[in-house]
Symmetry: C2
Subunit: 296 residues, 2 copies
C-alpha cells in the first residue's frame, strides 16, 4: 500500500470532521473560537485520529462511527500543545510552522482555548446526535480510556515529570516514564478506542494494545531523533531545541545509533503484535514503518 496517500486521505477526512465539529469562528466569543480553530486547523499530521480510524478498520469496524472520537483525541492533543508552548512551560514561539497560539492571541486566551478544547473533546464524545450509531456503554468506555490516558497519571503526568527533569541528569526508566505518558498515552488511547468502536473482541483488543504501546513509544523515540537531525524548516518548530533546553531525550541518553536501534526494535514489536489481525491491519503496519523510517 501507498502509506503517504493513505495518510493524506485520512488526514483530509479528519480535517473535514474537525471543521464540522468545532464551533464556527463567528460563534460568540469569536476570539476564543478563532483561537481554538487556529491551533486545531494548523494542519498537524493527525497521527492519533488516523491510528484510531485504522484500528477501528483493523477489527472490521465502521470508520464513520469512530470519527467523533478521532477528532476528540486530536482536540486533546492540540490543547496539550497550546499549553506546552506557553511562556510558563516550554515558551515556544513556533509550532507546526506558525506562531504559537499565545503569540497570536495572548497568553490568557491561549490558556482558555486549551481548556475549551479539552472540554469540547468530552462534549463531542457524549453528544447523542453525533454518536447516534454507537451505544452509550461503548461511548462511556471510550470516554474513560481517553480521560485516564490524558490525565494526571497519563499525558499531564508525563509533561510534569518532563518539566521537572529539564537540565537534570535522568535515568532510562525516568525517560521511558515521560515518553510512555507524554506521547505514548494518547497514542495507546487512540488504538484502544478505535478497537472498541470497531467492536474488537478480547484477543484483538489485547493485540492492538500491544501494538499501541510499542508504536507510541517508537513515535516519541523517532521524534527525539528528528529533533536532533532536522532543520527548523522541515520540523516546523525550532530544531535542536531539546538539547538547548537540556530536555531528556533518547539521543541525549543513549546516543543516536542506539536510539535508532531502539526505534527499529519497537517498530518490529508493533508489527508482530498485529499477527492475529491479518490483512485488515495492513495500514497499521505501514504506519509503524512510516513513523520509524522518518527518522532513519
Amino acid at each position: 500500500m501507498d502509506i503517504k496517500t493513505y495518510l493524506k486521505d485520512k488526514a483530509a477526512l479528519v480535517d473535514a470532521a474537525l471543521d464540522r465539529y468545532l464551533p464556527g469562528a463567528d460563534t460568540l466569543p469569536e476570539k476564543l473560537h478563532q483561537s481554538m480553530r487556529y491551533s486545531v486547523m494548523a494542519g498537524g499530521k493527525r497521527v492519533r485520529p488516523i491510528l484510531l480510524l485504522a484500528s477501528c478498520n483493523a477489527v472490521g469496524g465502521d470508520e464513520a462511527a469512530a470519527l467523533p472520537a478521532a477528532c476528540a483525541l486530536e482536540m486533546i492533543h492540540t490543547y496539550s500543545l497550546i499549553h506546552d508552548d506557553l511562556p510558563a512551560m516550554d515558551d515556544d514561539d513556533f509550532r507546526r510552522g506558525r506562531p504559537t497560539n499565545h503569540k497570536v492571541y495572548g497568553e490568557a486566551t491561549a490558556i482558555l482555548a486549551g481548556d475549551a478544547l479539552l472540554t469540547e473533546a468530552f462534549e463531542l464524545l457524549s453528544d447523542p446526535e453525533i454518536n447516534r450509531e454507537v451505544s452509550a456503554e461503548t461511548l462511556l468506555r471510550v470516554s474513560h480510556i481517553i480521560a485516564r490516558f490524558a490525565g494526571s497519571t497519563g499525558m499531564v503526568g508525563g509533561q510534569v515529570v518532563d518539566m521537572e527533569s529539564e537540565g537534570k541528569e535522568i535515568d532510562f526508566p525516568t525517560l521511558e516514564y515521560i515518553h510512555t505518558r507524554k506521547t505514548g498515552a494518547l497514542m495507546l488511547a487512540s488504538v484502544q478506542c478505535g478497537a472498541l468502536l470497531g467492536g474488537a473482541d478480547e484477543q484483538a483488543f489485547a493485540a492492538l494494545t500491544r501494538y499501541g504501546s510499542a508504536a507510541g513509544l517508537a513515535f516519541q523515540v523517532a521524534d527525539d531523533i528528528l529533533n536532533v537531525i532536522s532543520t527548523s524548516e522541515t520540523l516546523g518548530k525550532t530544531a535542536g531545541s531539546d538539547a538547548v533546553r537540556g530536555k531528556a531525550t533518547y539521543p541525549a541518553l543513549i546516543g543516536l545509533d542506539a536510539s535508532r536501534g531502539r526505534a527499529r526494535e519497537l517498530k518490529e514489536m508493533a508489527i508482530a503484535a498485529l499477527d492475529p489481525l491479518g490483512e485488515k491491519a495492513e495500514p497499521l503496519r505501514a504506519i509503524a514503518r512510516f513513523i520509524v523510517e522518518r527518522s532513519s
Copy 2:
C-alpha cells in the same frame, strides 16, 4: 430547616468523597497530585455539588448515585479558579484565604493541575466501578451537560468575555452574558445533572432548570455585592478587587441598591420555580434564600 447545618453536613459528605476520588498525594507525579489536592481540599463552600445533591433529593433520587457527578463539578469549578488566578489572567495571590496554586507550586504546575482536574472530572463521570448504580445513558447525558456548560459557549466563554471587558464600559446584556456563563452555567449544570441522576420526569426537570437559571444568576449578583461590602478577611480573597480591576459587576453598573433588588427578585423566581416539587425541594429553597441573604 437549619440551612447552615444542612450546608455543613453536605459539604462534609462532598469533602470526604473528593478525598476518596482524587489520586493520593503520594501518587506519581507527587507534586502534581499535591497541587491538585491543595486547591480542591482548600475548603470551598461546595455550592455546586450541594446543589446537585439537593436537586437529586428534590426529585426523590438517591444521593449516593449523584456523589461522583457532584465531585466532578467541584473539580471543574476548582480548575477554573486555578486558571483564573494565573498571572496571565486575574493574577490573584489569595483564594479561599490561602496563597493561590501558582504562588505555591509555580505557574507551570498550576496550569497542569487545572488541566488534570478538568480531565479527572470526566474520568470520574465515566468510571464504571464508581458509577455502578447509574445507567450508561444517564452518565453520558450528565457528561454532555457538564461539558457543554463548562466549555467555550459556557463557563470558559464567560471568562473570555469577562477578561475582554475589563476596564471597558459594558452594557447590561454583556454583564448578564458573562454572569450566566462564568458562574451560572456550572450552577445550572449542577441542578440539571442532579435532576437526571435523581430520575426526574420532564416536568420536574423543567422546574429545576428554571430554578437553576435564577439561583445561578442570583449567586453571582450576591457575589458581586459581597466583593464591594466585605473585608478581605471575611472574603478569603482581596475585597474590592473587582472595582480596582475595572471588572464588570452589578453594583458598578446599576448600583448597590438595585443589585440587591435584582438578587431578591431572582431568589423569588428560583423559589417559585420549585412549586411543582413540594416538600422535598425545601433544601433548594433554603439554599436560594441563603445565597441572597449573605449579601443583604
